[in-house]
C-alpha cells in the first residue's frame, strides 16, 4: 500500500465564465521515503497540483475533483475541519521563499512556534525547544531564533521555510520551486540539506521545479507534466538515460550544461496550449514534429510501457525507444547545433567597446544612526575589458556582483562615477545626450524581464516601429511597413502579431519582440542583459539560438550578461567572472570552464547543476553563503570565503594578472 495515492485528480479554475483546466486527470502514487519530482514548463499545472494536494484552492476560484488517498483515507471528501488536522501534521508545504512567504513583523522563532502550536498540543516552552531543534536540523544557528526575516539571507530564509515544513514531523513534504530564487551556490546547499533530510527522516517529498537537472539530483522518480497532464513518469535514472515521450526528449535536449560538449540547442517551437480549450487528442501534437493523424484525434492514455515506466504517446513504436540524440530526432527537428567551437570566426583585434577602469557606487539611503557616515554599495569597482568585433563577451556572476550595472553603464543608462567607456575608439562616457543619441543607433540593449518590457497599451507594430520613430527614420510609407514585417520574420514571429497587444503574447514571444526592437536600427553592438533567465528551458534554447543566428547574419557584437554558466558556455567566446564589483577571472570560455584558476570560478562551476544525476555534485561546496557586501572587505574580496586564503589575502588586493596567454585572473596564490 502506498502512502499517497492520487487518482484522476482534476483542478479547474473559474476565470470569468470559462474553466481553465489547470490539472486535468493526474494519477500517481507516492511510497514512504520516496521522493517524486514534478517537472514541466510554466503553466503546465505543477504548482496547482501541489496546492490541490493541500486543498489550498479557494472554492470561489476553482474546484478539485478526483481522489486523493492518504493511507487509504480519502482527503477530498473529508470535511474541512478534519482536513485541517491532516494538513501540515501529515502533509506540509514549503513555498518559494521570496520575502513574502515569511511574515516580516514576527521573528522566525515565533512563526515556527505558531506552526507547531496550531497542530500539536504543547506548552510554549516545548514548542520553543522544538523550534530551536528544527533550526539545528536545517543547519541554521539556533541562536538566530529571534531574528526577523529581513535579517536573514535568502538561503537562510529558505531553510527556515523548510524548518516550518518539518515542524509537525510530517509524512510528506511538498517543496514548490524552493531553490528558484537562490543563487547557484546557495541552491546546492539547500538541495544538499533536502537530500540529507530525506535520508535521515525517511521523509517522502514531492519536489516541484521547472529545472529538470535539479529534480535529477534529489528525486527517485520524475513526473513530466504538459498542459495539465502527465506525459511521462519514470525512475530518475531511466528518465535521463532513455526519455521516451517526444516532449521529454526535447526538454532534455534544450538544456545547456557545462559538462557536455558545447552546443546550442534548438528548443521547442511554439508554446503550451491554452487550457480553457485544450486541443483534442494529444495536447502536445501542435508542437510535436512526429505528430500523425491519430495524435490530433485521440488522446493517448498514460500506458505502462515497462515496469514502473509510464508514457502517454501513440507513436512510441514508430519513433523508437532510442536515446535522445538519435539521428532520427535530428532529422525531424533540425536541431543542427551551431558549432561554436570550430566556427571559423576570425577574431579581429579592433575593439568595439573598451572599458577603462570604471566605477559606480550607489548611495545607501539609510545611514547608520542619525549622524552616521553615508555608505555606498560598490556595484562596479574598477573594471577594465575590451570587446572585439564579432565577439560574444560573457559577464557572469551571482546576484549583486555588478554585472548588470556594467551593461547599463555601457549604454549610458547609469552615470559613470569614474573611468571611461570607448565605443569604436571614441569616448562615450563624457558626451552630451544629443551625441549619445547617435551612439544609441549603433548600440542597443535586450532586457531581462519580458513581462514588463513592452508597453501594454501599444501593439507590436508600434513597439517595433518605436526605435525608427525615435530616430526619425519612421515614414508612413510602405518601406517602414516592410521593415517591420521583415523584423518580425527575422525573429520568427507570424505577421498577425503586428496588431496584437503585449498581453496576448507569451514570455518567449515578448522576448522575440524585444530582440526585433533592438535590431530595428541595425546596430553593431548589443548588450543582452539576462535575456533568457526568465524563460522556460525549451523557450530559452530557441531564443538563444535565434540570438546566435542573428549575430552571424548581421555581424553583431554581443555583451551577454548572465548568471547561468551553461548559457555562457554555449554561446560566449570569452567570459569575465565578476565578484563583488570586480572581475576576478577573464579568459576564453573553454579556459574558464575547463581550466578555471580563481577559487570563486571553481566554486561556481562546481555548483552549476549537472544535467545527469550525479551523487557527488555539491559535495565540494563549503557551507556558508556568499555575502552581499555594501562595503567590501579589505584585501581580496573573496578571502572570507576562500578555502586557500592566506594572511596576505586579507591585506592586499590582488590585481588582474595574465596567468596563461589570454587568461587573466585576480588571485595571488594560484
Amino acid at each position: 500500500m502506498s502512502l499517497l495515492n492520487v487518482q484522476d485528480l482534476k483542478t479547474y479554475y473559474l476565470v470569468d465564465t470559462a474553466e481553465v483546466k489547470a490539472v486535468d486527470g493526474v494519477s500517481f502514487t507516492l511510497d514512504k521515503g520516496e521522493s517524486i519530482g514534478i517537472a514541466g514548463e510554466s503553466g503546465c499545472g505543477k504548482s496547482t497540483l501541489a496546492l490541490s494536494l493541500m486543498r489550498l484552492i479557494d472554492k470561489r476560484d476553482g474546484k478539485i475533483q478526483g481522489e486523493i488517498l492518504l493511507d487509504d483515507q480519502p482527503l477530498i471528501a473529508m470535511p474541512m475541519d478534519e482536513f485541517r488536522k491532516v494538513r501540515w501534521k501529515r502533509i506540509s508545504y514549503v513555498a518559494q521563499s521570496a520575502m513574502g512567504a515569511l511574515n516580516p513583523v514576527h521573528n522566525i522563532g515565533s512563526q515556527i512556534i505558531e506552526a507547531i502550536r496550531l497542530h500539536v498540543n504543547c506548552t510554549k516552552q516545548e514548542a520553543f525547544e522544538r523550534a530551536a531543534e528544527l533550526l539545528r536540523q536545517v543547519k541554521v544557528d539556533p541562536s538566530r531564533i529571534k531574528s526577523f526575516p529581513h535579517e536573514l539571507s535568502g538561503g537562510m530564509r529558505q531553510r527556515v521555510m523548510i524548518a516550518m515544513g518539518l515542524a509537525c514531523d510530517p509524512d510528506i513534504m511538498i517543496c514548490d520551486e524552493i531553490t528558484t530564487a537562490l543563487d547557484v551556490i546557495t541552491q546546492v546547499q539547500v538541495l544538499g540539506l533536502l537530500k540529507s533530510l530525506q535520508a535521515s527522516l525517511n521523509l517522502s517529498t514531492i519536489v516541484i521545479s521547472h529545472e529538470l537537472p535539479i529534480l535529477g539530483q534529489v528525486c527517485n522518480r520524475i513526473i513530466i507534466m504538459y498542459a495539465g497532464k502527465i506525459v511521462e513518469m519514470a525512475d530518475t535514472a531511466e528518465m535521463f538515460k532513455e526519455p521516451k515521450h517526444p516532449y521529454t526528449r526535447f526538454l532534455l535536449d534544450s538544456l545547456m550544461d557545462i559538462r557536455l560538449p558545447r552546443r546550442i540547442p534548438e528548443g521547442i517551437e511554439g508554446s503550451p496550449p491554452n487550457l480553457i480549450n485544450p486541443p483534442i487528442g494529444c495536447r502536445f501534437w501542435l508542437r510535436c514534429p512526429y505528430a500523425q493523424a491519430i495524435c490530433q484525434e485521440k488522446e493517448p492514455p498514460l500506458k505502462e510501457e515497462a515496469p514502473k515506466r509510464y508514457v502517454a504517446c501513440h507513436l512510441l513504436e514508430s519513433i523508437g525507444v532510442s536515446k535522445k540524440k538519435e539521428p532520427s530526432l535530428v532529422e525531424v527537428a533540425p536541431s543542427q547545433p551551431l558549432d561554436v567551437a570550430t566556427d571559423s570566426r576570425k577574431l579581429t583585434t579592433d575593439a568595439v567597446v573598451t572599458v577603462s577602469d570604471i566605477y559606480k557606487y550607489f548611495r545607501v539611503r539609510a545611514r547608520r544612526g542619525l549622524f552616521g557616515k553615508r555608505r555606498y554599495v560598490h556595484a562596479v569597482d574598477g573594471i577594465n575589458f575590451e570587446v572585439n568585433k564579432g565577439e560574444t563577451f560573457g559577464l557572469v556572476g551571482e546576484t549583486g556582483c555588478g554585472k548588470t550595472t556594467v551593461g547599463r553603464l555601457l549604454l549610458g543608462l547609469e552615470k559613470l562615477d569614474r573611468g571611461a567607456i570607448y565605443f569604436k575608439g571614441s569616448d562615450i562616457s563624457h558626451i552630451k545626450s544629443s551625441q549619445m543619441k547617435d551612439v544609441r543607433r549603433h548600440a542597443q540593449m535586450i532586457f531581462q524581464d519580458p513581462f514588463s518590457s513592452l508597453n501594454p497599451m501599444k501593439n507590436i507594430f508600434w513597439a517595433i516601429a518605436e526605435p525608427l520613430r525615435v530616430h526619425g527614420i519612421y515614414k508612413d510609407g510602405s518601406d517602414t511597413k516592410d521593415k517591420i514585417a521583415e523584423m518580425l520574420e527575422t525573429v520568427g514571429l507570424q505577421q498577425d502579431f503586428q496588431s496584437k497587444l503585449p498581453d496576448e503574447l507569451s514570455g518567449g514571444e515578448k522576448q522575440r519582440v524585444g530582440i526585433a526592437q533592438a535590431l530595428a536600427l541595425d546596430p553593431e553592438f548589443i548588450v543582452c542583459d539576462e535575456p533568457v533567465s526568465m524563460l522556460d528551458a525549451s523557450i530559452k534554447a530557441g531564443v538563444v539560438s535565434l540570438l546566435m543566428k542573428l549575430k552571424q547574419q548581421n555581424d553583431l557584437t554581443y555583451i551577454f550578461v548572465t548568471h547561468e554558466l551553461g548559457v555562457a558556455y554555449a554561446i560566449c567566446d570569452r567570459v569575465a567572472v565578476m565578484y563583488a564589483g570586480k572581475i576576478v577571472e577573464l579568459a576564453s570560455t573553454e579556459q574558464i570552464i575547463k581550466e578555471a584558476l580563481h577559487p570563486y570560478t571553481q566554486l561556481l562551476i562546481a555548483a552549476s547543476p549537472p544535467l545527469y544525476p550525479d551523487d557527488t555534485w555539491g559535495s565540494t561546496i563549503p557551507s556558508g553563503e556568499v555575502p552581499f557586501y555594501i562595503e567590501p572587505p579589505d584585501g581580496c574580496r573573496f578571502h572570507p570565503r576562500c578555502v586557500n586564503a592566506k594572511d596576505a589575502c586579507k591585506e592586499e588586493e590582488p590585481g588582474l594578472k595574465e596567468a596563461a596567454p589570454g587568461h587573466f585572473v585576480a588571485c595571488d596564490i594560484i
Binding site: 543608462l413 544609441r440 542597443q444 524581464d449 514588463s452 508597453n455 518605436e466 526605435p467 525615435v470 536600427l521
Partner: protein, 295 residues
C-alpha cells in the same frame, strides 16, 4: 474600442451605472422636449401634488373654477411646474459637474505626470504644495471663499476646482512612479527616446486609466459639492441647479408643507447620478488600471 467594451461589459455594476448615467444625461439634454410647461409659466395652485391630467373643479370656498394643469411632479411655492424645472436644473448640475471635473482631472494629471516623472526638487515642491492644500479643512474654506467671491456658479466652480485637483494629482503621481520603473520605459531610454516621447507614449497611456476613473468619480464629487454649497445658499438663484432646488425647497417651507414632490426628486437624481458615476469609475479602476505588480 471593441475590446475595451468587452472587458467593461463583464461588470454588471458598471453596466448598470453606465445605463443610469446615459439616461440622466439624455434626459437633461432633452429638457426642452420633456418640459410640459414653459419655465416662466406658473400655475394658480401652489404646492400642488403631482397631477397626471388636466382637470378643473370648483373652488371649495370661493365661487370660481380652479384649473389644474398636468404637473407630473406637482408645483412649488409659486406654482412653477417642477417636472419641467427639474430637467433644466439637471443641465446646470451636470454641466458644472463635467466642466469642473475635466479641469480638475487634467490639472491633476499634468501635475502628477510632471512631479512623478521628473522627481527630485520639482517633485518635492509640487507634492509639498499638494500636501499643504490637502490638510486645509476643505468645506469651511470653500464656504468662506465662495462667500467672499459672492454667490454664483462661477465662484462655486472656482472653489471646487481649487480644492479638487490635489487628490488626482497625488494618485497620478503614484501611478507614474510605478510605471516609470517598468522595463519599457528603460528600454525607450536606451533607444534614445526624449522625455517628451517617453511621457507621451509610455507614461501617459498607462496612467490614463486612473485619469479616466478620476474624471468620472470627480463628476460625482463635484455634483455633490455643488449641491451642498448651493443648499447652503451660495448658488445663483437665477440659474437653479438641483442643489438650488433643494435650497429653495428648504427656504420656502416645502418640508413643513410636506411637499415631498419638491425635494425628493432632485435628491434622488443627485443620488442616482452620484451612484452611477461611482459605479462607472470604480469599474474602470478595477478593470483598466494597471495593478502595481502582477504575480
Amino acid at each position: 474600442m471593441f475590446k475595451w467594451w468587452a472587458k467593461y461589459r463583464k461588470s454588471k455594476v458598471g453596466v448598470a451605472g453606465l445605463i443610469v448615467f446615459v439616461l440622466i444625461t439624455l434626459a437633461v439634454i432633452l429638457a426642452p422636449v420633456l418640459a410640459t410647461t414653459d419655465l416662466e409659466e406658473t400655475s394658480v395652485v401652489n404646492f400642488e401634488p403631482p397631477t397626471f391630467s388636466h382637470h378643473t373643479h370648483d373652488h371649495p370656498y370661493r365661487d370660481e373654477i380652479v384649473e389644474h394643469g398636468t404637473h407630473l411632479l406637482g408645483t412649488n411655492a409659486v406654482g412653477e411646474d417642477l417636472w419641467s424645472r427639474i430637467w433644466h436644473a439637471g443641465r446646470i448640475s451636470l454641466l458644472i459637474g463635467v466642466v469642473a471635473s475635466v479641469i480638475i482631472t487634467s490639472t491633476g494629471t499634468i501635475v502628477g505626470l510632471v512631479a512623478g516623472y521628473f522627481g527630485g526638487i520639482v517633485d518635492e515642491i509640487l507634492i509639498r504644495f499638494v500636501d499643504m492644500m490637502m490638510v486645509l479643512p476643505r468645506l469651511p474654506m470653500m464656504i468662506l471663499m465662495a462667500a467672499f467671491l459672492g454667490p454664483g456658479i462661477p465662484s462655486i466652480m472656482f472653489v471646487i476646482i481649487v480644492f479638487g485637483w490635489t487628490a488626482p494629482a497625488r494618485s497620478i503621481r503614484a501611478q507614474v512612479l510605478s510605471v516609470k520603473q517598468r522595463t519599457y520605459v528603460e528600454k525607450a531610454r536606451s533607444i534614445g527616446g526624449s522625455k517628451r516621447h517617453i511621457i507621451w507614449n509610455h507614461i501617459f497611456p498607462n496612467v490614463s486609466g486612473v485619469a479616466v476613473a478620476y474624471l468620472i468619480l470627480e463628476i460625482m464629487r463635484v455634483i455633490m459639492l455643488e449641491a451642498a454649497l448651493s443648499f447652503l445658499g451660495l448658488g445663483d438663484p437665477q440659474t437653479p441647479s438641483w442643489g438650488m432646488m433643494l435650497f429653495f425647497a428648504q427656504s420656502e417651507g416645502a418640508f413643513s408643507m410636506e411637499a415631498w414632490w419638491w425635494f425628493v426628486p432632485p435628491g434622488l437624481l443627485i443620488a442616482a447620478l452620484g451612484a452611477s458615476c461611482n459605479f462607472i469609475g470604480t469599474t474602470i479602476n478595477d478593470r483598466f488600471v494597471l495593478k502595481v505588480k502582477r504575480g
